[in-house]
């Protein structure tokens, strides 16, 4: 009986616009599972990954969660789209299974309504706002424009940037504010408005990495948008740059994970993870993959420590706790389950992400 593997459920979009990224995250979790299994597994048992496709649709996500629950998983790692996460939370919670949200960013995920013992790894909007605000203050730019995805994520991100600017007592003019729907691909109308306002800094908040963000970057360049284009934290992954092409050069962004930059470059856990992913999937991990893998890693560490697979003890160990030697280095979680993260600013040069040394 002891040799039965522990089942771990993984739910991400594997098809549709977010499919490629979801597949990569799932692969990263598998790579991490391989690493854990090689080093003895969890409580002496091997881990088996059961992966499902939520098709970016809440109703499908809920079905998939139910499926995993009835196949007896001990934990579910999920969450690319916030509504899907929010829909799955109550279902997983009622089944008394630990639910770790890897990426979905909406604030209510940690509110405790859907899941009182929620855990999330991706940075929150308020953490993200600070780093962008600090950058703006540093440039002394006064004319600021926003191009914001019109949903909870986009509006929340913009709000937190503005709130942080206020905290810094930084005076500025909001010369333009353009909202657009998530699946917009043609920004010419919005850009025309922004351009006419002649901003010094334009902040683009668009989580649609497959379509919207590369389109926005290209069209901004083509339309000769004046000033500096800054992207919200975590919205420019290498995949965005590869679609946006040369137009991406010069864009500024910020993120929490860079595989080959210090302190990650010399982090043993990270090196092992990168090597494993490259070996198994011929792919260098990005932030989302790191978040997915870390979710599993943290869960395994916690379960090994408390010697239980039950939801409560493991969740309590994670929430408010600290872990050493993760992919992200030594990390700690806030009492509400949010991972504390470190942001770095970067510039895109020659279609490569170059971390700005000045930032910490």
């Amino acid at each position: 009986q002891a040799q039965q593997p522990i089942k771990v459920g993984v739910i991400f979009p594997l098809s549709g616009g977010a499919g490629p990224q979801g597949q990569h995250v799932t692969q990263a979790v598998q790579a991490m599972a391989a690493i854990i299994n090689e080093s003895g597994g969890v409580m002496g048992r091997q881990i088996e990954i059961l992966s499902r496709d939520d098709e970016s649709t809440p109703a499908v996500g809920v079905s998939r969660a139910n499926e995993l629950i009835s196949s007896g998983v001990s934990v579910i790692i999920e969450g690319w789209n916030s509504p899907v996460t929010l829909a799955m939370q109550p279902v997983i919670n009622r089944a008394n299974i630990l639910d770790i949200t890897a990426i979905s960013k909406a604030d209510p995920i940690l509110s405790g309504e859907g899941n009182p013992l929620a855990v999330r790894l991706n940075s929150s909007n308020s953490q993200d706002g600070a780093v962008i605000a600090k950058y703006i203050a540093g440039t002394k730019a006064k004319r600021i424009a926003f191009m914001t995805e019109n949903d909870a994520y986009g509006n929340g991100a913009q709000e937190s940037i503005e709130a942080e600017l206020k905290k810094l007592n930084y005076a500025y003019d909001k010369v333009a504010e353009e909202k657009f729907p998530f699946n917009q691909a043609d920004f010419r109308v919005a850009l025309t408005n922004v351009r006419a306002a002649n901003p010094e800094v334009t902040i683009a908040i668009n989580a649609n990495e497959g379509l919207g963000m590369p389109a926005l970057i290209r069209q901004a360049k083509q339309s000769r948008l004046p000033g500096q284009l800054v992207t919200a934290v975590g919205t420019v992954a290498p995949s965005v740059i590869s679609v946006a092409g040369e137009a991406a050069n010069g864009v500024i962004g910020a993120d929490i994970y860079f595989p080959d930059v210090e302190p990650f470059a010399s982090n043993e856990a990270n090196k092992k993870f990168i090597a494993k992913t490259q070996e198994m999937f011929k792919y260098t991990p990005d932030k989302y993959m790191a978040l997915g893998a870390t979710s599993l890693q943290v869960w395994a560490m916690a379960a090994n420590e408390v010697k239980s697979l039950d939801k409560e003890p493991v969740a309590k160990r994670i929430r408010g706790g600290s872990f050493k030697g993760t992919i992200f280095g030594d990390v700690s979680f806030a009492a509400n389950g949010q991972l504390e993260s470190n942001h770095k600013l970067f510039t895109i040069e020659n279609q490569k992400i170059v971390v700005r040394p000045a930032s910490n």
Partner: protein, 288 residues
């Protein structure tokens, strides 16, 4: 706001909409058929062009006819399968079968082309024109010119030529058309093949404006639907005008209010128009 730039945006957008809708205009207006797989055929047209240009290294001008041929093939196969439904004029079933084709096309294209975003680059799309404060590309010019030519030619063919008359006869009463010596099956197949070619051409011209994904097509089918209905079902001129109007509306609503609500606003206007004038904007002589 920059009025002249928004005007340019609106005009280009409007012609793009009209061009995307042209195949369905013929299908719906002329043959009283619907095709909810229209959006996916657009997607396929874009991806075949992209595949030709960036994977097979074909020149853009060769890739376009290749995409159109693919469109013809898909249209032909669809109609071949649906022929019995078409002859029975079972519109509800046709609606849903074409929806099914859209699903199949989407699934197959995603498996074949992958689901990551791609950029369809053409010799025109990378050439920007800056004219004082105005910005547009040669691709935009191509869209406007092709749309105008296409609509003019279509109008002529439908109103003045025998082919147009044949299609209209079949649309109204396929069985009576047989008695006039018309090969009804061939007309249906032909109209659908035309739809395939037209939407592929539209895709090859319009898709370079934005990144392309195999999951796209939804917006296109909706826009087409709006254009065709607003223009008055069956009216070629009507759908040109409706496409242009929709483009201008999208641009100026985006400029004055917000792009976030442009689609909803367009729909609200559409509802209002149709409630006041159930026949859409076009006036056909003698009333329908």
């Amino acid at each position: 706001m920059n009025f002249s730039q928004q005007l340019v945006n609106g005009i280009v957008l409007g012609h793009a909409y009209a061009l995307i809708a042209i195949g369905w205009t013929v299908l719906l207006g002329v043959a009283r058929l619907v095709n909810f797989g229209h959006g996916q055929m657009y997607m396929l047209g874009a991806f075949v062009t992209w595949y030709g240009v960036s994977r097979l290294g074909l020149p853009y001008f060769v890739a376009i006819p290749v995409a159109m041929l693919a469109g013809v093939a898909v249209g032909y196969v669809m109609q071949r399968v649906m022929l019995q439904l078409t002859l029975k004029q079972d519109l509800v079933s046709i609606m849903i079968v074409t929806l099914g084709f859209g699903y199949v096309l989407h699934g197959a294209a995603a498996l074949f082309f992958g689901s990551t975003g791609q950029i369809l680059e053409t010799p025109f799309s990378t050439k920007d024109i800056y004219w004082g404060d105005l910005w547009f590309t040669y691709q935009d010019i191509a869209i406007v010119i092709v749309a105008i030519l296409f609509f003019a030619a279509l109008k002529y063919v439908i109103d003045r030529t025998r082919i147009g008359r044949l299609a209209r006869m079949v649309a109204e009463d396929p069985q009576l058309a047989q008695l006039a010596g018309v090969n009804v099956r061939r007309v249906y197949l032909g109209v659908f093949a035309f739809e395939g070619a037209a939407v592929a051409l539209a895709a090859a011209l319009v898709a370079p404006r934005t990144p392309i994904l195999t999951s796209m097509g939804f917006d296109e089918v909706i826009i087409t639907f709006v254009v065709v209905v607003l223009g008055g079902i069956g009216s070629v001129t009507g759908s040109y005008v409706a496409g242009l109007a929709l483009g201008l509306f999208t641009a100026f609503f985006g400029a004055f209010v917000s792009p976030a609500y442009a689609t909803a606003a367009a729909f609200a206007v559409l509802i209002a128009v149709l409630v006041i004038r159930p026949g859409g904007l076009a006036v056909s002589p003698g009333g329908r």
